[in-house]
Protein backbone atom coordinates (compact mmCIF):
# COMPACT_ATOMS: atom_id res chain seq x y z
CA UNK A 1 0.00 0.00 0.00
CA UNK A 2 1.26 3.51 -0.81
CA UNK A 3 2.35 5.89 1.92
CA UNK A 4 -0.50 8.20 2.94
CA UNK A 5 0.98 10.16 5.86
CA UNK A 6 4.51 10.97 6.92
CA UNK A 7 5.43 13.16 9.79
CA UNK A 8 8.94 14.49 10.00
CA UNK A 9 10.59 16.09 12.99
CA UNK A 10 7.39 17.39 14.48
CA UNK A 11 7.78 19.67 17.51
CA UNK A 12 4.91 21.23 19.43
CA UNK A 13 5.27 23.71 22.26
CA UNK A 14 2.80 25.22 24.73
CA UNK A 15 4.55 28.51 25.38
CA UNK A 16 7.92 27.25 26.66
CA UNK A 17 6.75 23.72 27.40
CA UNK A 18 7.99 21.18 24.85
CA UNK A 19 4.99 18.81 24.61
CA UNK A 20 5.87 16.85 21.45
CA UNK A 21 9.52 16.28 20.62
CA UNK A 22 10.99 15.47 17.21
CA UNK A 23 8.31 12.99 16.23
CA UNK A 24 8.72 10.98 13.02
CA UNK A 25 6.11 8.59 11.84
CA UNK A 26 4.85 7.09 8.66
CA UNK A 27 1.59 5.44 7.77
CA UNK A 28 0.47 3.48 4.72
CA UNK A 29 -3.03 3.51 3.30
CA UNK A 30 -5.40 1.29 5.28
CA UNK A 31 -3.08 0.97 8.27
CA UNK A 32 -4.24 1.27 11.86
CA UNK A 33 -1.82 3.15 14.04
CA UNK A 34 -2.29 3.05 17.81
CA UNK A 35 -0.71 5.52 20.21
CA UNK A 36 -0.54 4.71 23.89
CA UNK A 37 1.29 6.15 26.83
CA UNK A 38 0.81 7.54 30.32
CA UNK A 39 -1.20 10.66 31.08
CA UNK A 40 0.55 13.85 30.02
CA UNK A 41 2.88 12.07 27.62
CA UNK A 42 1.74 14.17 24.65
CA UNK A 43 -0.63 11.77 22.86
CA UNK A 44 -3.42 14.31 22.51
CA UNK A 45 -1.00 17.03 21.54
CA UNK A 46 0.44 14.84 18.77
CA UNK A 47 -2.92 13.80 17.34
CA UNK A 48 -4.27 17.35 17.64
CA UNK A 49 -1.23 18.70 15.80
CA UNK A 50 -1.87 16.15 13.05
CA UNK A 51 -5.53 17.22 12.89
CA UNK A 52 -4.52 20.88 12.52
CA UNK A 53 -5.71 21.96 15.98
CA UNK A 54 -2.25 22.77 17.35
CA UNK A 55 0.31 24.69 15.37
CA UNK A 56 3.65 22.87 15.37
CA UNK A 57 6.75 24.93 15.99
CA UNK A 58 8.64 22.92 13.41
CA UNK A 59 8.35 19.78 11.34
CA UNK A 60 6.50 18.60 8.29
CA UNK A 61 3.27 16.78 7.66
CA UNK A 62 3.12 15.10 4.26
CA UNK A 63 -0.09 13.73 2.82
CA UNK A 64 0.53 11.37 -0.10
CA UNK A 65 4.08 12.75 -0.11
CA UNK A 66 2.93 16.33 -0.38
CA UNK A 67 3.70 18.77 2.43
CA UNK A 68 0.67 20.54 3.86
CA UNK A 69 0.20 23.20 6.53
CA UNK A 70 -2.68 23.19 9.08
CA UNK A 71 -4.85 25.42 6.88
CA UNK A 72 -4.69 23.09 3.89
CA UNK A 73 -5.19 20.05 6.08
CA UNK A 74 -8.36 21.58 7.56
CA UNK A 75 -9.73 23.01 4.32
CA UNK A 76 -9.31 19.78 2.41
CA UNK A 77 -10.88 17.62 5.12
CA UNK A 78 -7.85 15.33 5.13
CA UNK A 79 -8.62 14.14 8.65
CA UNK A 80 -11.78 13.25 10.51
CA UNK A 81 -11.33 13.83 14.23
CA UNK A 82 -13.19 12.03 16.99
CA UNK A 83 -12.88 13.52 20.47
CA UNK A 84 -13.12 12.00 23.90
CA UNK A 85 -16.03 14.33 24.74
CA UNK A 86 -17.84 13.74 21.40
CA UNK A 87 -18.28 17.49 20.81
CA UNK A 88 -21.58 17.08 19.00
CA UNK A 89 -23.51 20.29 18.36
CA UNK A 90 -26.17 20.17 21.09
CA UNK A 91 -28.59 22.60 19.43
CA UNK A 92 -28.85 20.49 16.26
CA UNK A 93 -30.49 17.12 15.70
CA UNK A 94 -28.33 14.08 14.97
CA UNK A 95 -29.17 14.43 11.28
CA UNK A 96 -28.40 18.17 11.25
CA UNK A 97 -25.08 17.58 13.02
CA UNK A 98 -24.07 15.73 9.89
CA UNK A 99 -25.82 17.73 7.17
CA UNK A 100 -24.71 21.18 8.37
CA UNK A 101 -20.98 20.74 7.66
CA UNK A 102 -21.78 19.00 4.38
CA UNK A 103 -23.87 21.95 3.24
CA UNK A 104 -21.63 24.71 4.59
CA UNK A 105 -18.21 23.24 3.79
CA UNK A 106 -18.76 20.97 0.82
CA UNK A 107 -21.65 23.08 -0.55
CA UNK A 108 -23.68 19.94 -1.09
CA UNK A 109 -27.44 20.40 -1.55
CA UNK A 110 -29.72 19.68 1.37
CA UNK A 111 -31.32 16.59 -0.16
CA UNK A 112 -27.97 15.10 -1.10
CA UNK A 113 -26.57 15.89 2.37
CA UNK A 114 -29.49 14.06 3.95
CA UNK A 115 -28.79 11.07 1.75
CA UNK A 116 -25.12 11.04 2.79
CA UNK A 117 -26.14 11.43 6.44
CA UNK A 118 -28.51 8.47 6.19
CA UNK A 119 -25.67 6.41 4.75
CA UNK A 120 -23.19 7.14 7.53
CA UNK A 121 -25.80 6.89 10.28
CA UNK A 122 -26.77 3.41 9.16
CA UNK A 123 -23.07 2.48 9.06
CA UNK A 124 -22.83 3.32 12.77
CA UNK A 125 -26.30 1.86 13.41
CA UNK A 126 -28.10 4.92 14.76
CA UNK A 127 -30.24 5.86 11.78
CA UNK A 128 -33.35 5.41 13.96
CA UNK A 129 -32.08 8.21 16.26
CA UNK A 130 -31.61 10.77 13.51
CA UNK A 131 -34.29 13.24 14.59
CA UNK A 132 -33.30 13.38 18.25
CA UNK A 133 -30.98 15.89 19.81
CA UNK A 134 -27.62 14.63 21.11
CA UNK A 135 -28.61 15.01 24.77
CA UNK A 136 -31.33 12.38 24.24
CA UNK A 137 -28.79 9.74 23.21
CA UNK A 138 -26.58 7.50 25.31
CA UNK A 139 -22.86 8.23 25.38
CA UNK A 140 -22.13 5.35 23.04
CA UNK A 141 -24.73 6.55 20.56
CA UNK A 142 -23.37 10.09 20.76
CA UNK A 143 -19.86 8.89 20.04
CA UNK A 144 -21.10 6.85 17.08
CA UNK A 145 -22.85 9.95 15.79
CA UNK A 146 -19.59 11.89 16.12
CA UNK A 147 -17.84 9.19 14.12
CA UNK A 148 -20.58 9.35 11.47
CA UNK A 149 -20.28 13.14 11.30
CA UNK A 150 -16.54 12.88 10.59
CA UNK A 151 -17.00 10.06 8.10
CA UNK A 152 -19.57 12.06 6.15
CA UNK A 153 -16.87 14.58 5.24
CA UNK A 154 -15.06 11.77 3.47
CA UNK A 155 -11.65 12.14 5.16
CA UNK A 156 -8.55 10.24 4.07
CA UNK A 157 -7.60 9.38 7.64
CA UNK A 158 -9.67 9.09 10.82
CA UNK A 159 -8.15 10.30 14.09
CA UNK A 160 -9.47 9.15 17.46
CA UNK A 161 -8.38 10.70 20.76
CA UNK A 162 -9.46 8.31 23.52
CA UNK A 163 -12.88 7.76 21.93
CA UNK A 164 -14.14 5.47 24.70
CA UNK A 165 -12.63 7.11 27.79
CA UNK A 166 -15.75 9.12 28.60
CA UNK A 167 -18.09 6.14 28.19
CA UNK A 168 -19.71 3.83 30.69
CA UNK A 169 -18.13 0.37 30.41
CA UNK A 170 -21.19 -1.23 28.82
CA UNK A 171 -21.07 1.26 25.94
CA UNK A 172 -17.41 0.89 25.07
CA UNK A 173 -17.86 -2.14 22.85
CA UNK A 174 -20.48 -0.64 20.57
CA UNK A 175 -18.01 2.15 19.71
CA UNK A 176 -15.05 -0.22 19.33
CA UNK A 177 -17.20 -2.42 17.05
CA UNK A 178 -17.90 0.53 14.77
CA UNK A 179 -14.18 1.29 14.66
CA UNK A 180 -13.41 -2.32 13.85
CA UNK A 181 -15.95 -2.19 10.98
CA UNK A 182 -14.25 0.94 9.68
CA UNK A 183 -10.86 -0.75 9.82
CA UNK A 184 -12.20 -3.76 7.91
CA UNK A 185 -13.59 -1.41 5.29
CA UNK A 186 -10.03 -0.15 4.70
CA UNK A 187 -10.07 3.18 6.53
CA UNK A 188 -6.69 4.50 7.62
CA UNK A 189 -6.81 5.36 11.32
CA UNK A 190 -4.72 6.80 14.12
CA UNK A 191 -6.10 5.90 17.54
CA UNK A 192 -5.08 7.10 20.99
CA UNK A 193 -6.47 4.58 23.42
CA UNK A 194 -6.06 2.85 26.74
CA UNK A 195 -8.05 -0.18 25.52
CA UNK A 196 -5.10 -2.53 25.20
CA UNK A 197 -7.11 -5.57 24.15
CA UNK A 198 -8.64 -3.60 21.34
CA UNK A 199 -5.25 -2.16 20.35
CA UNK A 200 -3.74 -5.62 20.17
CA UNK A 201 -6.52 -6.83 17.86
CA UNK A 202 -6.80 -3.88 15.53
CA UNK A 203 -3.37 -2.24 15.26
CA UNK A 204 -0.83 -2.67 12.50
CA UNK A 205 1.64 -0.50 14.39
CA UNK A 206 1.65 0.61 17.97
CA UNK A 207 3.78 3.24 19.66
CA UNK A 208 4.41 4.15 23.26
CA UNK A 209 4.88 7.82 24.05
CA UNK A 210 6.39 9.32 27.16
CA UNK A 211 7.47 12.89 27.86
CA UNK A 212 6.60 13.92 24.31
CA UNK A 213 8.82 11.29 22.72
CA UNK A 214 8.24 7.97 21.01
CA UNK A 215 9.75 5.39 23.35
CA UNK A 216 8.91 2.35 21.31
CA UNK A 217 7.38 1.71 17.90
CA UNK A 218 6.55 -1.89 17.19
CA UNK A 219 4.15 -4.46 15.76
CA UNK A 220 1.35 -5.22 18.21
CA UNK A 221 2.58 -8.76 18.66
CA UNK A 222 6.08 -7.69 19.66
CA UNK A 223 4.82 -4.71 21.61
CA UNK A 224 2.77 -6.88 23.95
CA UNK A 225 4.76 -10.11 23.98
CA UNK A 226 8.28 -9.01 23.46
CA UNK A 227 8.70 -5.25 24.11
CA UNK A 228 12.01 -3.65 23.30
CA UNK A 229 12.22 -1.24 26.22
CA UNK A 230 11.88 -1.45 29.97
CA UNK A 231 9.62 1.60 29.81
CA UNK A 232 7.15 -0.34 27.68
CA UNK A 233 7.26 -3.28 30.05
CA UNK A 234 6.50 -1.15 33.07
CA UNK A 235 3.76 0.71 31.19
CA UNK A 236 2.15 -2.57 30.17
CA UNK A 237 2.40 -3.86 33.71
CA UNK A 238 0.56 -0.80 34.93
CA UNK A 239 -2.26 -0.80 32.38
CA UNK A 240 -2.73 -4.55 32.22
CA UNK A 241 -2.93 -4.88 36.00
CA UNK A 242 -6.60 -4.00 36.22
Amino acid sequence: MPNILSIKNLNVFYEKFHAVKDIDLSLNEGEIFVICGPSGSGKSTLIRAIAGLEKPKSGEILINNKAMNEKEVLNKNIFGMVFQQFNLFPHLSILENITLPLMKVKKISKSESIEIAHGVLSKVKILDQKDKHPSKLSGGQQQRCAIARSLAMNPKIMLFDEPTSALDPEMINEVLDVMTDLASAGMTMIIVTHEMGFAKKIANKIILMDNGEIIESNTPNNFFNNPETERTKSFLNQVLQH
Partner: protein, 220 residues
Protein backbone atom coordinates in the same frame (compact mmCIF):
# COMPACT_ATOMS: atom_id res chain seq x y z
CA UNK B 1 -59.04 57.85 37.56
CA UNK B 2 -61.06 55.92 35.02
CA UNK B 3 -61.25 58.91 32.73
CA UNK B 4 -57.43 59.42 32.63
CA UNK B 5 -56.74 55.81 31.86
CA UNK B 6 -57.41 56.11 28.10
CA UNK B 7 -55.23 59.22 27.99
CA UNK B 8 -52.29 57.17 29.24
CA UNK B 9 -52.63 54.48 26.60
CA UNK B 10 -50.91 56.30 23.70
CA UNK B 11 -47.94 57.21 25.97
CA UNK B 12 -47.85 53.62 27.16
CA UNK B 13 -47.49 52.57 23.53
CA UNK B 14 -44.61 55.08 23.16
CA UNK B 15 -42.90 53.48 26.19
CA UNK B 16 -43.30 50.03 24.65
CA UNK B 17 -42.03 51.16 21.25
CA UNK B 18 -39.02 53.11 22.48
CA UNK B 19 -38.00 50.29 24.84
CA UNK B 20 -38.37 47.40 22.43
CA UNK B 21 -36.84 49.13 19.41
CA UNK B 22 -33.84 49.99 21.60
CA UNK B 23 -33.61 46.49 23.04
CA UNK B 24 -33.77 44.99 19.58
CA UNK B 25 -31.05 47.24 18.13
CA UNK B 26 -28.88 46.84 21.22
CA UNK B 27 -29.26 43.07 21.00
CA UNK B 28 -27.56 42.95 17.61
CA UNK B 29 -24.91 45.47 18.59
CA UNK B 30 -24.30 43.34 21.69
CA UNK B 31 -24.08 40.15 19.70
CA UNK B 32 -21.70 41.66 17.15
CA UNK B 33 -19.24 43.19 19.61
CA UNK B 34 -19.73 40.37 22.10
CA UNK B 35 -18.65 37.90 19.42
CA UNK B 36 -15.65 39.95 18.37
CA UNK B 37 -14.76 40.40 22.03
CA UNK B 38 -14.76 36.72 22.80
CA UNK B 39 -13.09 35.53 19.61
CA UNK B 40 -10.26 38.02 19.15
CA UNK B 41 -7.56 39.10 21.54
CA UNK B 42 -8.14 41.78 24.16
CA UNK B 43 -5.69 44.07 22.38
CA UNK B 44 -7.54 44.04 19.07
CA UNK B 45 -8.46 47.72 18.35
CA UNK B 46 -12.19 46.92 18.03
CA UNK B 47 -12.06 45.25 21.42
CA UNK B 48 -10.24 48.16 23.01
CA UNK B 49 -12.88 50.56 21.70
CA UNK B 50 -15.77 48.36 22.78
CA UNK B 51 -14.27 47.81 26.25
CA UNK B 52 -13.97 51.55 26.65
CA UNK B 53 -17.55 51.97 25.45
CA UNK B 54 -18.92 49.37 27.87
CA UNK B 55 -16.96 51.01 30.64
CA UNK B 56 -18.51 54.43 29.88
CA UNK B 57 -22.04 52.98 29.81
CA UNK B 58 -21.65 50.97 32.99
CA UNK B 59 -20.02 53.78 34.92
CA UNK B 60 -22.34 56.69 34.16
CA UNK B 61 -25.97 57.27 35.16
CA UNK B 62 -28.49 56.73 32.41
CA UNK B 63 -29.91 60.22 32.88
CA UNK B 64 -26.55 61.69 31.84
CA UNK B 65 -26.46 59.43 28.79
CA UNK B 66 -29.93 60.65 27.82
CA UNK B 67 -29.03 64.33 28.26
CA UNK B 68 -25.84 63.70 26.32
CA UNK B 69 -27.75 62.23 23.38
CA UNK B 70 -30.28 65.06 23.52
CA UNK B 71 -27.69 67.84 23.66
CA UNK B 72 -24.80 66.42 21.66
CA UNK B 73 -26.58 64.87 18.66
CA UNK B 74 -27.78 68.27 17.33
CA UNK B 75 -24.25 69.65 17.84
CA UNK B 76 -22.87 67.11 15.37
CA UNK B 77 -25.64 67.94 12.94
CA UNK B 78 -28.02 65.08 13.72
CA UNK B 79 -31.44 66.59 14.22
CA UNK B 80 -33.98 63.93 15.12
CA UNK B 81 -37.43 63.65 16.51
CA UNK B 82 -37.25 63.30 20.29
CA UNK B 83 -38.54 59.71 19.97
CA UNK B 84 -35.47 58.73 17.98
CA UNK B 85 -33.18 60.61 20.34
CA UNK B 86 -34.73 58.42 23.02
CA UNK B 87 -34.11 55.29 20.94
CA UNK B 88 -30.48 56.27 20.44
CA UNK B 89 -29.95 57.02 24.13
CA UNK B 90 -31.53 53.77 25.30
CA UNK B 91 -29.79 51.73 22.59
CA UNK B 92 -26.48 53.27 23.62
CA UNK B 93 -27.16 52.30 27.20
CA UNK B 94 -28.56 48.83 26.61
CA UNK B 95 -25.85 47.88 24.12
CA UNK B 96 -23.28 48.37 26.87
CA UNK B 97 -25.02 45.76 28.99
CA UNK B 98 -25.85 43.47 26.11
CA UNK B 99 -22.24 43.39 24.88
CA UNK B 100 -21.36 42.07 28.32
CA UNK B 101 -24.20 39.54 28.26
CA UNK B 102 -23.19 38.26 24.80
CA UNK B 103 -19.53 38.15 25.63
CA UNK B 104 -20.14 36.15 28.80
CA UNK B 105 -22.45 33.68 27.02
CA UNK B 106 -20.19 33.18 24.03
CA UNK B 107 -17.17 32.72 26.27
CA UNK B 108 -19.08 30.06 28.21
CA UNK B 109 -19.47 27.81 25.15
CA UNK B 110 -17.13 24.84 25.37
CA UNK B 111 -14.01 25.14 23.24
CA UNK B 112 -14.64 21.62 21.98
CA UNK B 113 -17.43 23.12 19.85
CA UNK B 114 -14.93 25.31 18.03
CA UNK B 115 -12.53 22.42 17.65
CA UNK B 116 -15.10 20.00 16.24
CA UNK B 117 -16.29 22.67 13.87
CA UNK B 118 -12.74 23.46 12.79
CA UNK B 119 -11.83 19.84 12.08
CA UNK B 120 -14.99 19.54 9.98
CA UNK B 121 -13.56 22.32 7.83
CA UNK B 122 -15.88 25.13 8.94
CA UNK B 123 -14.33 28.59 9.07
CA UNK B 124 -14.63 30.91 12.06
CA UNK B 125 -17.50 32.92 10.57
CA UNK B 126 -19.58 29.84 9.74
CA UNK B 127 -18.78 28.42 13.17
CA UNK B 128 -19.97 31.56 14.93
CA UNK B 129 -23.18 31.88 12.90
CA UNK B 130 -24.30 28.26 12.91
CA UNK B 131 -22.67 26.70 15.96
CA UNK B 132 -21.67 29.17 18.65
CA UNK B 133 -24.17 32.04 18.49
CA UNK B 134 -27.31 29.85 18.42
CA UNK B 135 -26.13 28.12 21.58
CA UNK B 136 -25.04 31.41 23.17
CA UNK B 137 -28.42 33.04 22.50
CA UNK B 138 -30.16 30.37 24.58
CA UNK B 139 -27.83 31.11 27.46
CA UNK B 140 -28.32 34.85 27.02
CA UNK B 141 -32.07 34.66 27.33
CA UNK B 142 -32.41 35.02 31.13
CA UNK B 143 -29.96 37.93 31.34
CA UNK B 144 -31.47 39.58 28.28
CA UNK B 145 -34.96 39.34 29.76
CA UNK B 146 -33.60 40.92 32.91
CA UNK B 147 -32.04 43.72 30.88
CA UNK B 148 -35.36 44.19 29.05
CA UNK B 149 -37.20 44.75 32.31
CA UNK B 150 -34.54 47.20 33.47
CA UNK B 151 -34.69 49.13 30.24
CA UNK B 152 -38.48 49.36 30.17
CA UNK B 153 -38.41 50.87 33.63
CA UNK B 154 -35.42 53.08 32.83
CA UNK B 155 -37.28 54.47 29.82
CA UNK B 156 -39.25 56.60 32.31
CA UNK B 157 -36.15 58.78 32.54
CA UNK B 158 -36.76 59.84 28.94
CA UNK B 159 -39.33 62.22 30.45
CA UNK B 160 -36.39 64.60 31.06
CA UNK B 161 -36.06 65.23 27.33
CA UNK B 162 -39.82 65.73 27.01
CA UNK B 163 -40.57 62.49 25.21
CA UNK B 164 -44.25 61.89 25.84
CA UNK B 165 -43.89 58.37 27.17
CA UNK B 166 -45.88 56.95 30.04
CA UNK B 167 -44.15 58.71 32.90
CA UNK B 168 -44.01 62.10 31.18
CA UNK B 169 -47.69 61.85 30.31
CA UNK B 170 -48.51 61.12 33.92
CA UNK B 171 -46.49 64.13 35.07
CA UNK B 172 -48.43 66.30 32.64
CA UNK B 173 -51.74 65.02 33.95
CA UNK B 174 -50.61 65.73 37.46
CA UNK B 175 -50.07 69.33 36.35
CA UNK B 176 -53.71 69.20 35.33
CA UNK B 177 -54.58 68.69 39.01
CA UNK B 178 -55.03 64.93 39.16
CA UNK B 179 -53.96 63.40 42.43
CA UNK B 180 -50.25 62.61 42.69
CA UNK B 181 -50.47 59.31 44.59
CA UNK B 182 -53.22 57.94 42.41
CA UNK B 183 -51.27 58.76 39.27
CA UNK B 184 -48.23 57.03 40.66
CA UNK B 185 -50.29 53.94 41.35
CA UNK B 186 -51.78 54.04 37.88
CA UNK B 187 -48.34 54.29 36.28
CA UNK B 188 -47.07 51.40 38.32
CA UNK B 189 -50.09 49.40 37.27
CA UNK B 190 -49.33 50.14 33.59
CA UNK B 191 -45.62 49.26 33.74
CA UNK B 192 -46.41 45.99 35.44
CA UNK B 193 -47.98 44.11 32.49
CA UNK B 194 -45.16 45.05 30.10
CA UNK B 195 -42.53 43.77 32.47
CA UNK B 196 -44.50 40.65 33.33
CA UNK B 197 -45.28 40.13 29.64
CA UNK B 198 -41.56 40.31 28.85
CA UNK B 199 -40.88 37.75 31.54
CA UNK B 200 -43.62 35.54 30.14
CA UNK B 201 -42.26 35.70 26.57
CA UNK B 202 -38.73 34.95 27.80
CA UNK B 203 -40.02 31.96 29.72
CA UNK B 204 -41.93 30.75 26.73
CA UNK B 205 -38.85 30.98 24.49
CA UNK B 206 -36.74 29.32 27.12
CA UNK B 207 -39.19 26.44 27.42
CA UNK B 208 -39.46 26.09 23.68
CA UNK B 209 -35.68 25.84 23.50
CA UNK B 210 -34.97 23.75 26.46
CA UNK B 211 -36.75 20.86 28.13
CA UNK B 212 -34.96 21.46 31.43
CA UNK B 213 -36.96 24.69 31.47
CA UNK B 214 -35.35 26.95 34.00
CA UNK B 215 -37.85 29.65 34.86
CA UNK B 216 -36.93 33.26 34.48
CA UNK B 217 -38.41 35.23 37.32
CA UNK B 218 -38.08 38.92 36.72
CA UNK B 219 -40.39 39.61 39.59
CA UNK B 220 -39.46 37.57 42.57
Amino acid sequence: MVEVFPRLLPPLWVTIKVSFISLFLAFFIGLFFGSINSVFSKLNPINLVSRFYVWIVLCTPIIIQIYAAYLLLPKIGIKLDVFWVGVIALTFNSAGYQIEISRASITSIDKGQYEASKTLGMGLFTTMIYIIIPQAIKRMLPATANEASHLIKASAVLSVIALLELHKAAINLQGNSFKFIELLALQAFLYLPIVLGTSYIANFLQKKNDDKSSRIDLVK
